[in-house]
Structure formats: structure tokens, C-alpha cells
């Protein structure tokens, strides 16, 4: 496992010290986890959920939801009804 690559996937900046430390600690965990390779799981289905519920739906009827003011109250940066963030789309030249 390349911890710096995985950190990029996870959108997580790592300092040099962290990268070295976590690489070591996670390599150790992965050694431990290797034991699973010994299992014969060829005839086994994966369990995603122990108590299988499927297609849990409700009637498509609008019901009261979270008040917008309450939902926006925790936003770090606001502009009117919007949450302000750094530029997402590159400017066209």
C-alpha cells in the first residue's frame, strides 16, 4: 500500500512524518489482515447486511424536512441562501 497515494484518494493531506508513521502502522495492520487470505471462501456469498432488508421505500409524498435556516446555520461561509466555497470550475480562457 502506498500511503501517499491512498491519502490523495481520501482527500487527506499528510505531513511527511505522518506519511512515514502511518505507512509503518498500516503495513503492520495489513500483515495481520493477510490471515484472511487463508480462508476458503469460494462457496461463500458476501454479507453486506446481517438482517437483509431490500427496497425500503415510502410513499412519494412531500413531508416537512429540515428547516433551511437550521441546515445553513452550521455552514462555515455563507452568502444569502448559498454556502460559499473556493472556485470549483476553471475559468474559460
Amino acid at each position: 500500500m502506498d500511503v501517499r497515494y491512498v491519502a490523495r484518494l481520501a482527500r487527506l493531506d499528510l505531513s511527511e512524518e505522518e506519511a512515514v508513521l502511518y505507512q509503518r502502522q498500516l503495513d503492520r495492520l495489513l500483515e495481520h489482515v493477510e490471515s484472511l487470505q487463508r480462508l476458503d471462501v469460494s462457496q461463500v456469498a458476501p454479507t453486506a447486511q446481517v438482517v437483509p432488508l431490500t427496497n425500503v421505500l415510502r410513499e412519494d409524498v412531500p413531508v416537512p424536512s429540515l428547516d433551511r435556516a437550521a441546515a445553513l446555520a452550521g455552514a462555515p461561509a455563507r452568502e444569502g441562501p448559498f454556502i460559499r466555497v473556493p472556485r470549483i470550475i476553471e475559468e474559460q480562457e
Binding site: M1, V3, V6, A7, L9, A10, R11, L12, D13, L14, S15, E18, Y22, Q25, L26, R28, L29, L30, H32, V33, E34, S35, L36, Q37, L39, V41, V44, A45, P46, T47, A48, Q49, V50, V51, L53, V56, R58, L66, D67, A70, A71, A73, G74, A75, P76, A77, I83, V85, P86, R87, I88
Partner: protein
Amino acid sequence: MSAPHEWSATRIAAAVNAGEISAVEVLRAQQAQIERMEPEVGAFLSLTAGLAQEQARRVDEAVAAGRRLPLAGVPLAVKDNMCLQGTVTTAGSKILAGWVAPYTATAVARLLEAGCLPVGKANLDEFAMGSSCENSALGVTRNPWDLRRVPGGSSGGSVAAVAAREAALATASDTGGSIREPAAFCGVVGMKPTYGRISRYGLIAFASSLDQIGPIARTVEDAASMYDVMAGHDPMDATSLPRPVEPTARALRDDLRGLRVGLVREFDTKGLGVEIDAVYRRAYEQLAALGAEVVEVALPHAEYGLATYYLIAPAEASSNLARFDGVRYGLRVDGGSVQEMYGKTRAAGFGPEVKRRILIGTYALSSGYYDAYYVRAQKARTLMASDFERAFAACDLIACPAASSAAFEFGAKGDDPVAMYLMDYYTIPMSLAGLPALSVPCGFAGDGLPQGRELPLGLQLVAPLYEEARLFGAAHAYEQATRFGLDRVPPVLEGVR
């Protein structure tokens, strides 16, 4: 003459409902105790006095109007990964420091409706990741039985609050053992229901296929009553079971006649040291003395539990924690671009254990590794669930330790994460199988400590899916016969450090 903060939830509710004491008076006594204990124990990240007062008044009005509430006037600690509207809810993390919840978790709302008084938000390992509460980014909680030791985790604050009589009840959550292990460490009762029994709406998610809310109390009866209030289908949680809830508080037993109790071959306690081994042997003998037929069962894949869990749980966590990106709530560290903002915010906001789990989880789900790690772990999970099915053909309940040791000292696990993960050895298999399980006090371990300073140990009982009534029933019989959690109080209550 004992004071209200020492009473059980059952006794408080009966007294308030009968008009013998007001909820406001109960609260006053409780808050005085919190003031005395907090400098030593540090169970709470924040106190919610205003809310508690409002609730107390509401309860007193309801009782005066002739209503009877199941948990009338019972002081409640709420684990800080559960939303309570208007309160700071942090999940023990800097990334949510100061965040105010705009709604209330269903389980908590049901407790408030039943008359509970929310006294404060309890400390936890950050995002419920940990077995000692040392991973909290926002506070330190100490074990009321020995302030140099951890209360266990991740629900350390919840169990410490109840053990120190700072609340009669506490909510907690369990993903791989986070209710049962700390309950054992602090000499209280902690229970994790069948997956889906209690709504996860409003519980800040760690691993969605494993997380469950459960009760912490000083007696089995109290825990059962709390479970009865919280459990049941919730349309806001698509994984909540549509099954009706069989009441448990009225199904408590005095003996174990007619029950077969399975002892797990792979969980032999010889390796835990002479003293702890003796405590568990005595506990198993006590179950037999109460009329249970004790049999041996096997969980052949138990040894793969840790590896399975430490792939599945972090994988699910890496997905659940992707929402903490600095955009809509919580901490934001500015960056020139969105990517920079994400990277810097998450770097600053998450602690080391959370980062480790996000990394290993992301890796287990990444292209090229998904089958070898995540899917394989899910298949191992099936094998473990089948082990339990087979075991429960031969017995009605399984008995085993809730943890491999008593509470350890701060820093004892060093900087090797796997050393800490091993604390979950006995609790993980049940979580993977979604089974209801609890910890009930079963004795003390001295381990060279002075007399009267011994540390609690917990007996874990496990039932088949949906058999919470059987689980609580048996635990009650054991508790009443042995009284380990009932007769002895933590030294901190007597001013002993």
C-alpha cells in the same frame, strides 16, 4: 438515606410518577453530583443544564396532569456522537468542534418523550473509533474505579458518567464492542441490540452495517427499560427492523432453568491470567448453579474476527467520513481550490486513529484491492455469522468475557494500534453477526492492587437474533444472584483517588 443521584432509573421514575419527588428536585441532586465528580472523572464534553431544566418542568407538569412516563425524571447522559437539537455535538472530534445539532436522534427523542432529563453530552473516542476513550480530541475521561486508568471505549464518557452516579442512564453506541468493553471496565451494564432494533437516525455514522445504539445503566432492569423505550421501527432509518419489539423489562427471570448456555471453545480464559480465569470460571459455575445446562460450542472462525472487522469497519467509515470536507458544517481550513480545502480541513480536523482508519478503509475499497480485501472480509463475515447459527442450534445463550483484561492505565497500549485493536477480540464476532449482546459485572481483578481498589470485570452474554428478552432475562438472574454491579461503588465516590 440515599440521595436521588444514587437511585436506579426504575426507582427514580416510580418516585416521580407517584409524586414523591419532583423531576426538578431529582435534577438538582443530580447536578450537585455532576459538579462534585466532573473535576476527577471528566465524563462530559458539555453539560446541557438549560435543556434538562426545561425537560424537568415538562415532566412535572405531565405527572401533575395525571400522566405516567416510563422514565419520568431520569437523568440521562447522551454520547456525543448522537444529535440532540440545540446542543453542541462533536463526535469527540475537532472537525465538529462547536457544531450545533439541528435535530434530535430518534433514540434520544424517544427517551426524552419517556421523561428523561438530558444532563450532558458524554465523551467518546473520536467518531467512536477506539477502545479506551484516549482518542477523544476534546477531553479526557478517567475510570471512576481508578483515575489513572481508562474507562474503556469508545463509550468511555457514557459508562464513566453512570458509574460515577452522574446520570442514572446513558446512551452509547457499539460497532465492534464500544458499549460492552467500557461497560465491563467501569462495572456497569451495557447492551448492544440486534442490528436494526434501535434507529441509527441522528447517530453520527461510523460503520453503517455495524453501528447500533444501546443502553448503559447500573442495573439490568434499568437497561432493559431503556432498551424498551428506544427500540422499534423508525421510518427515518432504512435499516431499522420492521419487527415488533417484545418488551424486555417485564420478562426478567430469577433463574436460568431450561436454558442451555454455550461456552466457546475458542474463548477459553486460561490465557487471561490466573485471577481473571478464576473470575470467569466462577461466573460460568454461577450460571449452572442458577439452573442452566452448560455446553461447549465452537466458533471456528473467531480468530479471523479482528482482521475481518478492521477491513469492513474502516472501509465503511472511509465512506461515511467523506462528508467532513469543510463545505457545509464543522471545521473549514481555507484553500485556494476545493481540493486544497478538503485536504487541509481533513488534515487539521481528524485525529491519528481516524486518519489511519480512513486510509486503510480507502485502500480496502480501492480499485485492484476491493475483491481481495473488502469482499473477502464480507465473505469471512458470512462464515462467522454461520458459526453462530450452528452454535445456537446447541445452546440458547453464549457466555464469554466482555474484554480480555480489566481497565488498563493511560498510555498502556503504546503507539501500536493493533495492541489496542486486540481489546475488541471478544466483542467483534457478535457485531459482525449482528447479534444482541451485553456486558454485566461479574467480579473484580486485583492484579497486585491494594485491597478495595480492585477493578471490575464484565461477563458477556450473547443471544440469537431478536432474542433481547431472553438476553436481559438471563442477565437479570445472574445479576441478582451475584450482585457484583450492585453492592460496591467506585472509590471516586468516596473521595478516594
